[in-house]
């Protein structure tokens, strides 16, 4: 008998009878909050940075103001062109190792934990949000949901090969619990929160 059959048979024989799944609707007494304020508060607390963008702001000019006119920015947002993802003639993610600032859109953000949801539609290449030194994300305030429950309602049915929540810069506290930003991935994460 294959291990597959043996495992499945043993599991079937030993599993208890449980028929119902619990209801996962949040109770009414769950905390209520303003999604923009909470998102900014939480993301800032976990080492990220939130920049509120007004309707009248020129986003590209604002990004250059934040990172400096000389900033080395690779953008995968068509409306915000900077340097392209790949130099001509290659699509090997390893060439991204020298990306300084990666600029991408997020589909939506989650206020309770300061995270943003992105998939291949936004980052194009899976390594992009990790291999860069700094991550810049553009997100609309209208696309903030309060909790992870609403987040998964939005994700439900989405076709993606790889999707992820990102909440702040890459970090570690493995050395005596001292927080260090920039473990392997980006050292900073900035979310430009548009109207």
């Amino acid at each position: 008998m294959s291990s597959r059959s043996a495992i499945l048979q043993a599991v079937k024989q030993n599993q208890p009878t449980v028929e119902t799944l619990p209801d996962i609707t949040q109770p009414d007494y769950a905390l209520k909050f303003g999604t923009t304020e909470k998102f900014a508060e939480v993301l800032t607390a976990i080492g990220g940075r939130v920049i509120l963008v007004d309707e009248t702001d020129d986003l590209k000019a604002l990004i250059l103001q934040v990172y400096g006119e000389e900033a080395d920015i690779v953008s995968v947002i068509d409306e915000l062109p900077f340097k392209p993802l790949f130099p001509p003639g290659t699509e090997d993610p390893h060439v991204l190792e020298n990306v300084d600032i990666a600029l991408m859109k997020a589909q939506f953000g989650v206020s309770e934990n300061g995270s943003v949801w992105v998939t291949e539609a936004e980052y194009k290449v899976r390594a992009f949000p990790f291999i860069c030194q700094h991550l810049a994300v553009v997100l609309s305030r209208n696309d903030l949901v309060p909790y992870m429950h609403e987040a998964y309602q939005k994700i439900s049915g989405q076709q993606y090969g790889f999707g992820l929540f990102i909440a702040g810069p890459s970090k570690t506290a493995d050395i005596e619990q001292s927080l260090v930003l920039g473990a392997h991935g980006p050292k900073t994460m900035t979310v430009f929160l548009t109207q």
């Binding site: 597959r4 599991v11 079937k12 949040q26 905390l31 090969g161 570690t172 493995d174 005596e176």
Partner: protein, 459 residues
Amino acid sequence: MQTVTKSHAELSEGFNKDEARVSWHDETLWWIRQKRDKAAHQMPEWEWLRQTASGIKDYVLGNLHDLLELFEANALANGIKVHWAADAAEHNRIVYGILQEHGVTKIVKSKSMLTEECGLNEYLHEKQVDVVDTDLGERIVQLAGEVPSHIVLPCIHWKKEEIGELFHKFLGTPEGNADPQFLTGAARIHLREKFLTRRVAITGVNFAVAETGEFVVCTNEGNADMGTHLSDIHIACMGIEKIIPKQEHLGIFLRLLARSATGQPTTTYNSHFKKPAPGQEMHIVLVDNGRSRQLGRPDFRNSLKCIRCGACMNTCPVYRRSGGHSYKYAISGPIGSILAPNLDMEKHADLPFASTLCGSCSNVCPVKIDIHDQLYKWRQEITKNGHAPKAKTFAMKIVAAVLARPWMYRLGGSVARKMMRLFPSLMNNKSIPWNKARELPAPPKQSFGEWYAKNRKKV
């Protein structure tokens, strides 16, 4: 692998020789427990979340067979290759087989307690495969030739000065530099080179969704992602109990996991792997290794609900003062003590006794595992099966005999009180194990029974 025959108590004694260090270890973990409390107490819905998570896991245990089949079918449809391993040895053979097939001898690996449980690193080392653990804490213990002492905080027992020395030796950092920021920066450079050059990446799995065939890996460092997205082959290893029914259930578990582990609102990266990247190969190894047996033990099956947050370790007064290595098992602390005896009751017979049964572990567990009840039940199993220490069994028999005979109990008490008064050094002797780190109280003149008999008449 090195064979360890010392008991938890003996190994703890070694750990306890350096009192200042034990206090530091204890306080550091308690601080993390407090961060967990702060996160939990902000949320009025916290207890509802725990109850719901526990309920979902009940359903998983009751329907694991169908959920595993559904997960497999969906993962295959997504283009993921699925393997089944009955035990640790088969798991290791499968992983090595994939490496051999591609002629790969150098790999990167992110944190996976399952591969620790299976002894994958040692196995691959024997096969001349170079494995680089990429979680910073795991890399530190790996360079030192150790195993993690905590499932979330692998080098919680290491001081920064020692890490500075270790990095000086292996990574060439300046001698005497123990600055965490600097040392992390050195590790970043060291590991980036590995990420960029290695073709195979192994990761663990936090949750696997039956409904969609995807799996989720949670890290703060981004090391799992740096490894997998720069590799040709991704091998994800998971215990069969990591299945959850639906994608929407991730909302419940991801809200609980990081808050319980470290008090963070979430881990930095919650990566959902559904399909291999173009040109990439993705494998999942589903491992039983005793889990189906544990599922058949009604008293102990709830241990399979564990989501590996480590909250029970951070709160445990015994873990905090004995260190993770004293448990001699990949998963230490209270949860490890109820998982390990399932694999080998005799070898791990000491672990369920390494507890005060205070119940704090059960109170912080995000999926409401009755950990301290199971510790108590394992003690009974172990004693029934004759694996309890002989001295303890003998002492318990004497106690049972005395407690069953009131005259013997009264006599014993009266003799003991007299002895304590007349020969205090005989009773308060440090050679008696109970007196280690304890002092006997001053002996009362009479027992409570005698006092009550006398005072009752006055009323």
